[in-house]
Symmetry: C2
Subunit: 248 residues, 2 copies
DNA sequence: CGGCCCATTGACTATGGTCAATATAAGTGG
DNA sequence: CCACTTATATTGACCATAGTCAATGGGCCG
């Protein structure tokens, strides 16, 4: 595997890009000081495994930048991605010794890690952290359940459209585009194979459906990763979601 | 729809069958007293809808007895069950005004409800409740993710075997059978259609696969609902899970 | 008895998977 | 700079699994 690179400087929480969204979002200055003492940064290269399923977990933490995936694998090699970890998302489960999933860096990744045991102690004494973690966990549960509908009931074409919708919307919020009317432009952060693992498809089917959506003008493809969505409501229609309602 | 039946007596938390597993598990006597003041029981008949998706939620609560299902429905009628609520499971999301899913009583159901707003207030002041709710939510998230693997990657036969495994194990713990060696006997709490909705299949495929497992001696079927599993490890093999490992 | 609900089974079809060939792009080293 | 390698993606031919449509069976209850 690839080797870990030099660590970034131990920077201040005040200037942290995920300060207001991560597990520390509700912490006040005093609480942040305590967190600073048990935190450290780690960098991973695209493709590198952050945690192996079954391994003892030494830390929990937040994704600062980049994307990681949570995957589950059967003995015969079939794999299913069960979560996509974006900046501010939390990794690890307080109170559990061993990891339940593989965590893999999909892109280059920076994580803000907390030593597990001190973090658990702090959670008991700091309701702000526990409250925020509960809120985030409830959000993740909703996301997982929404994905169950995608996996269980949508067609291959709808699955692809659903995934593209997620990226398009995520990118729109990230670049502060409040308008969803104009064309949306973004780069796919996943390979065809990773998309297949997330959608419960084969990479060939992913490729075919992307080609079909392109042929039908739902998306414009430049290269393999660069995508333009001329009409977002059209894409959401293709995803089987209500194009109008659900401002989410 | 069916009408609500007379309410059960407002009984004491001390004698509650889910006392040690529900959201109140960690509460001490004082905290239970406070909960008693905002709690009430509701009974639902099999088939009755407890909460409609999108409706304002007046309460949160725990399943005391019976089974409820959490389902999501697309405009064209395709439905996916996204959770199975068993005794002690929590219903509702503190901090959210409207329900995200339909909650339907699959069997006759008794719920211990808390008026939502007082419960939310109490959560802020009672770490024992928030801590337990976090723990339960993390468990549900794990369950949802395990189900994503089932939905995304397993064959119809494996899906059925996975579902039967869950019921068999749940029944074994409920009847205090610590031995998983001998034959396990239980009644299916779901119709074929509900199983299909949970597994992302059609009811015909469910029926066919149950017949196939029966023909192959993996299960013995008496009537439509009564099932005997002669060899649990055989069933888990069919489910694609490791038959030995994972004492879960 | 008759009607209703739930389940089973069969015949046929369609969606997506499998296997294989080919294309494209990004390095790597002579 | 260009051949060579490797990883990623596309496309085609064929096939298998599960879906669709339809007929039939079996309890249960009024």
């Amino acid at each position: 595997m690839l080797k870990e690179r030099e660590l970034p400087p131990h920077h201040d929480c005040g200037s942290c890009p995920i300060r207001h969204r991560a597990v520390c979002a509700r912490c006040d200055a005093d609480e942040l000081d305590l967190l600073e003492e048990i935190k450290y940064y780690r960098k991973f290269e695209a493709g590198q495994t952050v945690i192996w399923s079954g391994d003892r977990m030494e830390f929990v933490g937040s994704v600062v930048s980049g994307i990681a995936s949570l995957t589950q694998t059967m003995e015969d090699g079939r794999t299913q991605m069960v979560g996509l970890l974006l900046p501010s998302d939390f990794v690890g489960r307080p109170g559990r010794a061993n990891a339940a999933y593989d965590v893999v860096a999909t892109t280059d990744l920076v994580m803000c890690c907390f030593r597990k045991s001190p973090f658990e102690d702090m959670m008991l004494r700091t309701p702000h952290i526990a409250q925020r973690l509960l809120e985030m966990t409830l959000d993740e549960l909703d996301a997982a359940r929404e994905w169950m509908l995608v996996l269980g009931r949508k067609t291959a074409r709808e699955k692809i459209a659903s995934l593209l919708s997620i990226f398009a919307r995520r990118n729109a919020t990230l670049t502060k585009q409040t308008q969803l009317n104009g064309p949306l432009v973004f780069d796919l952060p996943l390979t065809r194979e990773a998309m297949a693992d997330y959608l419960g498809l084969t990479l060939e089917t992913v490729s075919r459906q992307i080609s079909a959506l392109k042929k039908d003008g739902v998306i414009v493809l430049e290269g393999k990763r660069h995508i333009t969505v001329p009409d977002m409501s059209r894409l959401m229609e293709e995803a089987g979601d209500d194009a109008d309602g659900g401002v989410y």
